[in-house]
C-alpha cells in the first residue's frame, strides 16, 4: 500500500490507515524532529501535532505537490520549528546539531529501516565540498537565518543563496526519484 493510498484513506477517516502511516514513519520522523528540537518532550509534541494535522486535514497534500514523503517531512519541519519558537524561544537552533541529542542505542534490527535512504543521502552528502555540507546542515537542521548562515560560514550574505543552490543541485544528482520526487529532477 503506497503512502498516497494510505493518505487518501486517512482523508476518509480510516483510523487503521493513519496507524499504518504512523508505524511507517514513526522512527524516521521522530529522529528528524528530535534532531530539530533537541528535546525529547518537544519532539513528541511535534509528532502529536503532525499526526493531528494529518488526521484533521490541516495542511492538505495532493499528488501535484510531489512526493508525499517530502511533503510530510516539510510539514513536520515547520511544526517543529514553530514549537521551538513558541516553547523555547531562547533555544538557539544553531547549537551543534548532533552532539546535543541524548543518545540511546537504537536496536540494530530496527535501524535496518530506511537503510537505503540513509545510505543514499549520506553518499550524496559525501560528494559535496565541506562548505556545502555545512550550509545544508545549517539550512535544514538548524533552520538558521540567511544572516546567521553567512556569519557561521564566514561568507557574504549575498553568497549564501548561491551556495545553497549549488549544494542542492549536487545532491539532486545523487538522489533517486523515490527519495525526493520527480519534481526536482530536471
Amino acid at each position: 500500500m503506497t503512502d498516497l493510498d494510505l493518505y487518501e484513506r486517512v482523508r476518509q477517516k480510516d483510523k487503521e490507515a493513519l496507524e499504518i502511516l504512523y508505524d511507517r514513519y514513526e522512527r524516521i520522523l521522530y529522529a528528524f524532529v528530535l534532531q530539530l528540537t533537541k528535546d525529547r518532550d518537544l519532539a513528541e509534541e511535534a509528532m502529536q501535532e503532525v499526526f493531528i494535522k494529518l488526521w484533521r486535514g490541516g495542511g492538505v497534500y495532493d499528488e501535484t505537490k510531489g512526493k508525499f514523503r517530502s511533503w510530510l517531512f516539510t510539514m513536520s519541519r515547520h511544526v517543529a520549528i514553530d514549537l521551538i519558537r513558541k516553547r523555547k524561544p531562547d533555544l538557539q537552533l544553531d547549537e551543534s546539531y548532533a552532539e546535543t541529542i541524548p543518545s540511546e542505542s537504537p536496536s540494530v534490527e530496527k535501524e535496518a529501516e530506511w537503510q537505503e535512504e540513509r545510505a543514499q543521502i549520506e553518499t550524496a552528502m559525501a560528494t559535496l565540498p565541506a562548505e556545502q555540507q555545512q550550509v545544508v546542515r545549517l539550512m535544514y537542521f538548524q533552520g538558521l537565518s540567511q544572516q546567521k548562515i553567512a556569519d557561521t560560514c564566514g561568507i557574504p550574505l549575498g553568497t549564501v543563496k548561491g551556495r545553497v543552490r549549488l549544494a542542492l543541485r549536487q545532491l539532486k544528482k545523487h538522489l533517486s526519484h523515490e527519495l525526493i520526487g520527480k519534481e526536482v529532477e530536471q
Binding site: I28, E44, Q48, W55, R56, G66, W71, S145, K161, V184
Partner: protein, 240 residues
C-alpha cells in the same frame, strides 16, 4: 533585503508576519522563487534521513494516536470534501448545499460605513500603514480556514484575503480571488500558499469596482495565472 533575497528566511520561518505577507506577494509573481522553494522543500525528503537515529519513547504511539482520535471526537472536522473539480460550465455553482454564512447581505459600499473592527490584520498593518481602516471581516466557508477583509486606505477600498490550510498548488496553479455580483465574477488578485496553506492577497478596487454592490467573494484554484473567468473549483466562498 527584499524579494528573492528573503527566500531562505521565508523557508526557515524567520520573517515577521508583515514580511511574510510581503514575501508571499513577491512569491506569487516570481517563478524563480517558486521553483527554488519547491526544490528546498523536495530536498527535505532527502536530508531528513541524515538525522541521527533515535529510539522513540516508550508508549509514544498510543499517546499520539489516542490524542489524535480524541481531538477528532472533541472537535468534529469542518467538512472536508472531495476535491472533484466543479463542472466547467458552472464554475460558481456551489459543490454542496451547505449553508454559506450570510453576513446580512451587506453590500460592499455600505460595509465601508461600518465602524472599525479590531483584529490581527489591522494591528499588524496599522503600525506601518496608519491610514488603513478595516471595515469588515468576513469568514470564508470551504476547504480551509480563510478570512476576507474589506479595508479603506486613502480613499480607496482594499479587499484582503488570508488563508490557512489550503491544499498545496502545482507549479503553475494559483489561488484566485473573485468578487461576484449576480454570478458575474471579476478577478481580484491571485496568490500562492506556503506549505501550511497560508496565503494572502491584497487587492485595491478601482473607483468603478468600489461602486458595485458585490454579493459574493470566492477563491478558486486556477490551473494558471491570469484567467479572466474562473476555470477551477471553488475552495472558499462567502456572501457579502
Amino acid at each position: 533585503m527584499n524579494g528573492c533575497d528573503q527566500l531562505i528566511d521565508y523557508f526557515n520561518q524567520h520573517l515577521s508576519e508583515e514580511e511574510r505577507v510581503k514575501f508571499e506577494q513577491h512569491l506569487a509573481s516570481c517563478k524563480d522563487c517558486q521553483e527554488e522553494l519547491k526544490q528546498l522543500e523536495a530536498l527535505v525528503g532527502g536530508v531528513a534521513f541524515l538525522s541521527t537515529p533515535a529510539e522513540p519513547p516508550r508508549g509514544m504511539k498510543a499517546r499520539v494516536l489516542d490524542r489524535v482520535f480524541e481531538e477528532d471526537d472533541d472537535e468534529p472536522m469542518t467538512a472536508v470534501e472531495s476535491t472533484k473539480p466543479a463542472p466547467p460550465a458552472t464554475p460558481f455553482k456551489q459543490k454542496t448545499e451547505r449553508n454559506v454564512p450570510v453576513w446580512g447581505m451587506v453590500a460592499l459600499a455600505a460595509a465601508l460605513l461600518f465602524s472599525l473592527i479590531g483584529n490581527g490584520y489591522l494591528l499588524s498593518t496599522q503600525s506601518d500603514s496608519p491610514g488603513i481602516t478595516l471595515t469588515e471581516t468576513i469568514p470564508l466557508d470551504g476547504e480551509s480556514e480563510g478570512t476576507a477583509y474589506l479595508a479603506e486606505q486613502d480613499g480607496t477600498t482594499q479587499l484582503i484575503v488570508q488563508t490557512n490550510g489550503l491544499a498545496s498548488l502545482d507549479a503553475n496553479e494559483v489561488y484566485q480571488v473573485w468578487l461576484l455580483k449576480d454570478n458575474a465574477p471579476i478577478p481580484t488578485g491571485a496568490f500562492v500558499t506556503d506549505d501550511k496553506g497560508n496565503g494572502t492577497v491584497i487587492y485595491t478596487l478601482d473607483s468603478s469596482e468600489t461602486d458595485v454592490d458585490w454579493d459574493t467573494v470566492a477563491v478558486t484554484k486556477e490551473p494558471n495565472r491570469g484567467n479572466e473567468t474562473p476555470q477551477g473549483e471553488i475552495v472558499l466562498i462567502a456572501s457579502l
